[in-house]
Assembly symmetry: none
Homo-oligomer: 419 residues x 2
């Protein structure tokens, strides 16, 4: 039997947009990995009537209901009361949970409001999910083939409670193993990728193919179900290889986080260092590199040269280049990369220049015109970009940085700079 | 009549947990500001049967349905097909939208797959919401008192489509006028802010006060309902002044986007320029400044000095300072700010140095130890930070950048550097 899961989140703060529903994302990911199918996310506020309706609906269509939130004293333990009532269970006092709550307050040196002991009232006969990360215990029970699991709302509690308490409970419900690999592509749009794969996507059932588009990059997830992980991998690997063959050097990695992470790994492997000279990206390339833990082993630094003086005086871009071609030009991009490579003494240097808007530059270059360059011990290369003048400033900058990192990973992998 | 809104998101990637439902958060926030009540969030996958059921349910309980996602060729325009059918509307070819889609591809220099023209099929008689940020147009229509608005899923499209296309449509649905002002605070935690305001928050009904916490900053939104904007403003302004009085220089702006935007405005006003020298923030400060359109008038550039050599050779930080105090120290932060001010010839310079982790530095400084510095024509100042070793790398870096911008806005506003 294939399980149908509904995630039901209770919290007015979600409906007001104060926070994003990251619990639902974390749970969805974890449940998919367990081979459980999440079919619905529902969010309601701290309102007993609407919460009750949502529970009745979930019960009618799902056989696993996971709730988040609504367990604390500020919402009168709404979720627990509504679920217990809907499934015909009494709430009974659970002394060990009361003891844990008292101990939690003692440990954190705070006075316990009496209302907190309400959290020790739990549905009769439930499996108590002990909360080592906060005060509200979770619980799980089954009635007429429907499993209910209640977890606290704060992500710092919900995440470990799911991983260490709910997953062991759920593992007994899933059959076989689900495994997946994610291919990351750069240099192709989502619809062009799908055009190549449409037939396969429609006819394949195990593994399945799922495409995602994300800020100018594409992902393709291949997922297989089998009795064992080895069998699932045996189904997956030929498909992964086939897709790599179809898209060639546009596939920049399998199960990797980002282009810059691939660049970091390649630099480490080859004991090389990198630096950046940024105009249009204005620090974004350096920021993305330094988001990576341990990057100080390969990243020396960068210069954000937002004015022509800084390009000339700090990076040593020739004044005649700036005068003749303007700051947004291939020769200046190349000179910026070469200049920062010299200045910082790094092996590989990346540079960006372009027009992010809101207006054209003073030479009449349209918004979205950009150049990325790479300088290496073997020479340099410039890729001109026309990113369109409609996308937002942020997206133009993100895509320009993608292109620069793409040059680096192509150089470091020994691939041609262009397809 | 008070409107009941349901946000219905269509996308298997949400149910797999590949992405969080940030669209729903953004929409919830925007809708609350318009005085519309969001009662439900629902997520279903790219599955026609379940999407149809979700639409029928939404229709039975809400009078405004806002959908996100499911408009592209990869999901066969699922949302549009299901909604059109549910509300008895035909899809008809909308030539102006087809033209926009062709032009979009022409502009970005890509080949248009024929399937993309499906996006120009829209419900008969709808209001077309032109998409200047991607290819799939949105649309809005009303049937039997239920309003439907369909928006694309990618956040980079959904956000501007909501703001510039859906909000004008929705404004006609709310009665009277809702006006609000948002005070931004830095240097106080959410619970401390709430403790000061708790009584007021509980007793005030018009205006209302709503606090938000966001990556080390706090926001306080004051919202009033009235017949006219002038009446709403008359209710709001005394409360805004009162709160400014309560929190003093911790309030860094009213209705401003960010600390860096305040810094940009102050620099423009005073005809001054700024530059950055970054170690722990690794380009984030420059990136945040260059996110601001028009910043090239005041931002000269920056140096990301991720190694001691770059600090010494490019920024001119004395070798004896680095040897004696280490890179993560007040003297080095100050020398970085002074050095970059000299190098770039800017009026004001900001610098950051610190330990972002994952490990302590080689001098034993804990993760979360950082220094931000400012150098100005009148001298320099260093603020030491202990941000705790628990927050994630990204948050440490964000908060460090906040502190640097806070120094700049305090200097430029003639305020003391500390409360």
């Amino acid at each position: 039997m294939s399980h149908k899961v509904e995630i039901l989140s209770v919290g007015t703060e979600l409906l007001l947009g104060s926070i994003a529903n990251t619990d639902a994302q974390m749970l969805s990911r974890g449940l998919s990995e367990l081979g459980l199918n999440v079919y619905w996310h529902t969010v309601v506020g701290d309102n007993p009537g609407r919460a009750k309706q949502a529970v009745e609906l979930a019960r009618s269509r799902a056989d696993v209901i996971i709730t988040t939130g609504g367990l604390g004293p500020t919402c009168d333990d709404l979720t627990k009361n509504v679920l217990a009532e809907a499934f015909g269970k009494k709430l009974v006092f659970h002394e060990p949970s009361a003891e844990r709550i008292r101990a939690y307050f003692a440990r954190t040196g705070r006075q316990m409001p009496e209302s907190n002991l309400q959290q020790a009232m739990l549905p009769q006969g439930c499996v108590v999910l002990e909360n080592d990360w906060g005060t509200a215990p979770g619980c799980a029970f089954e009635v007429d083939g429907v499993h209910v699991i209640m977890l606290p709302g704060p992500p710092s509690e919900c995440t470990p409670m799911f991983r260490y308490r709910a997953v062991p409970y759920l593992q007994s419900l899933s059959e076989g193993v689900i495994a997946s690999h994610t291919l990351k592509l750069f240099g192709i749009g989502e619809s062009a990728m799908e055009a190549v794969l449409r037939e396969q996507m429609n006819t394949m059932t195990n593994p399945t193919l799922a495409p995602y588009a994300k800020e100018g990059e594409c992902e393709l997830r291949v997922t297989a179900k089998a009795d064992t992980d080895a069998q699932a991998q045996a189904l997956l690997l030929p498909v992964v290889e086939q897709i790599k063959g179809l898209f060639g050097s546009m596939v920049y990695g399998v199960d990797v986080a980002s282009l810059e992470q691939v660049v970091q790994s390649l630099l480490e492997e080859k004991h090389l260092t990198i630096g950046t000279a940024e105009s249009i990206t204005g620090g974004l390339m350096a920021k993305r590199l330094t988001d990576l833990p341990g990057v100080s082993r390969v990243f020396r630094g960068g210069v954000v040269s937002y004015t022509n003086e800084v390009k000339h005086e700090v990076l040593g871009v020739g004044q005649e280049l700036l005068d003749r071609y303007g700051a947004v030009s291939a020769p200046v991009a190349e000179a910026m990369a070469q200049g920062v490579r010299r200045l910082l003494g790094c092996d590989v240097a990346l540079a960006s220049t372009g027009v992010a808007g809101p207006d054209r530059d003073d030479r009449g270059n349209e918004v979205g015109t950009a150049f990325v360059a790479i300088a290496t011990p073997e020479g340099s290369y410039v890729r001109p970009l026309q990113l369109g003048n409609r996308p937002m400033r942020e997206r133009l900058r993100t895509q320009t940085a993608h292109h620069a990192f793409d040059l680096a990973r192509r150089y470091l992998s020994g691939l041609p700079y262009e397809n």
